[in-house]
């Protein structure tokens, strides 16, 4: 089997996509976003509750999609829970670079956890699947609820 395929569909990814963490809707969300992948018609909703200090107290996602987009959303929500808005934006920047195969500013634990998505960079047509949840999260932060 093709190495890049094995890298793309590694167990962590498949596990996230089959058992997505933080799946659902945050009750009393302060921020909501809806994303849409025109490539496949897939959709994702991201809801968040920010606390008084600009921290993401709660974040969930909902939607149907391919393994890449589901895993990416699951991983994202897992990582952003409890982080600051500023952190979220930095992580997103690093993630975008990672999945495009560019130099990434991600480091340490963040880097390690997101590394599982690096295989996407060998599949340019699938980059949009991986970034959908992140873009939706960002537009939720910008647009408010």
């Amino acid at each position: 089997m093709d190495d890049s395929l094995r890298e793309l569909y590694q167990d962590v990814i498949l596990d996230h996509s089959r058992h997505p963490r933080h799946f659902g809707v945050v009750e009393g969300a302060t921020h909501k976003g809806e994303g849409h992948n025109p490539l496949c018609g897939d959709r994702v909703n991201v809801t968040m509750a920010l606390d008084g200090e600009g921290r993401i107290a709660d974040i969930k996602f909902e939607g149907k999609g391919c393994a890449i987009s589901q895993a990416s959303a699951s991983l994202m929500t897992e990582m952003l829970q409890g982080r600051s808005v500023e952190d979220a934006e930095k992580l997103m920047g690093g993630f975008l670079h990672l999945v495009k195969g560019e130099e990434t500013e991600l480091a340490g634990d963040d880097r390690e956890r997101l590394e599982v998505m690096a295989g996407v960079s060998a599949f340019p047509m699938r980059v949009k699947c991986a970034t959908l949840a992140w873009h939706t999260m960002k537009s939720a932060l910008e647009g408010g609820s």
Binding site: M1, L5, Y9
Partner: protein
């Protein structure tokens, strides 16, 4: 132009005409099963275009000089080739467009828009391609037209009675695909036309798929409008054609304005040329017209029934082998359908599947296929689609099936 008819279809010989089919992707031989999106082009088409451009090209019409005359002749000969292909009565019933989408928009802008009053209805089937939906949505948004949708059966079949039931006194047009690009369903077009005409409605048939896989006779169908597109017909991109009955074309206002489509232009007046020139503003796709004619000649050089039988055999074989997978559900199984296998896969998303198939060299399409209302009808966001052309083989179906099994192992 007309080579003798080949009465037994020799797929190996045909394959040799398509250079791209012998290329590899990721070290695997290409298995191209995305033909409903666009077909590959035989060297006969590529040669015709290149030779024309390198030896006879100039702008058409209005030119007195040799090359302009030669190009004009070539361009008008292509129109005659399309006329013959569709068995239209007159060559002036054929308007060249940039593709299937533009042909439908031409009807929407030039025929329908000036005739549609608020509340007037357009009947569509749920299996239409977006190109045969959005131009009618424009009339809804801009002029208050009402879209009336006809459902298909669970097997994807379209029933003439169901279409008939949707046609009311306010129906101006029935817009229906001859063959669905997702289900492969072939519409009972002749019957639909008869029913629509009985109630005073015109019929536009989207033949972008239909004309590729069966002999079309617009006179026998008695259809008002019929469109084709070059790139699915083994021809070039950038060209398609609209057939419309002469009386319709004569009564239609222009679509695009520009050179060639006028009779006279003044500062405060303009008069328009007769059809088909009225609808061909600007420099047309001249080189592509030669390519389209070559593609039609190529297709017509085969026994079309033998090609259809070959394609049907591929579909039937693929359909049969797909039964090996209890996680695969075929969408669209209407009697007499064309060679398109669309399916959903339990627990596997179409895009993941297509990515894995791709690495095995197998090109299929995954997504909504520009048919979102149909996806909704079948309760899904996307399907995987393998669509067959004359150059495909049973061995390629085997590669597809093996690749599906592999994908299951990875994703399942």
């Amino acid at each position: 132009m007309n080579a003798p008819l080949k009465t037994v279809f020799d797929v190996a010989a045909a394959r040799a005409d398509f250079e791209i089919l012998s290329r590899e992707v990721y070290g695997k031989t290409l298995v191209y099963l995305d033909n409903a999106a666009s077909a590959q082009k035989p060297r006969q088409v590529l040669d015709a275009m290149r030779d024309f451009a390198a030896s006879e090209y100039a702008n058409v019409h209005r030119g007195v000089h040799f090359l302009s005359a030669a190009s004009t002749e070539r361009y008008e000969a292509a129109r005659e080739t399309v006329r013959r292909f569709l068995n239209a009565r007159h060559a002036d019933e054929i308007v060249f467009t940039k593709g299937g989408t533009e042909a439908i928009n031409l009807v929407s802008y030039s025929w329908a828009a000036p005739r549609i009053q608020p509340g007037d209805e357009i009947v569509l089937s749920v299996m239409e391609h977006h190109s045969n939906i959005v131009p009618w949505h424009f009339l809804r948004e801009r002029q208050g037209a009402v879209l009336r949708w006809v459902d298909v059966g669970d097997d994807g079949s379209l029933d003439a009675d169901a279409v008939d039931a949707a046609i009311g006194p306010k129906t101006k047009l029935v817009a229906v695909s001859h063959m669905s690009n997702v289900l492969g369903t072939v519409s009972p077009l002749r019957e639909i036309v008869a029913r629509a005409h009985a109630k005073g409605a015109a019929v536009l048939a989207d033949g972008c798929q239909g004309a590729v896989h069966a002999v079309v006779d617009v006179r026998d169908l008695d259809v008002d409008f019929y469109c084709i597109t070059g790139h699915k017909l083994y021809g070039p991109t950038g060209i398609g054609a609209l057939y419309a009955k002469r009386a319709h074309l004569k009564a239609m206002r222009p679509f695009n304005g520009g050179g060639e489509m006028i009779r006279e232009v003044g500062r405060d007046m303009v008069t328009y040329a007769d059809p088909p020139a009225r609808f061909e503003a600007g420099t047309p796709a001249i080189i592509e017209s030669a390519g389209l004619a070559a593609a039609i000649d190529y297709l017509s050089s085969f026994d079309r029934a033998a090609v259809a039988a070959h394609e049907h055999d591929l579909y039937a074989y693929a359909r049969e082998r797909a039964r090996e997978f209890n996680w695969l559900r075929v969408v669209g199984d209407a009697p007499g359908k064309g060679a398109i296998l669309s399916f959903e896969t339990e627990g596997m998303h179409a895009h993941d599947l297509a990515t894995i198939l791709d690495r095995e060299g197998v090109a299929v399409r995954a997504g909504h296929h520009c048919a979102q209302p149909l996806m909704e009808r079948f309760g899904t966001a996307s399907t995987t689609r393998a669509s067959f052309a004359l150059y495909n083989t049973r061995a390629e179906v085997d590669v597809l099936i093996d690749a599906l099994a592999k994908a299951r192992k990875i994703l399942g």
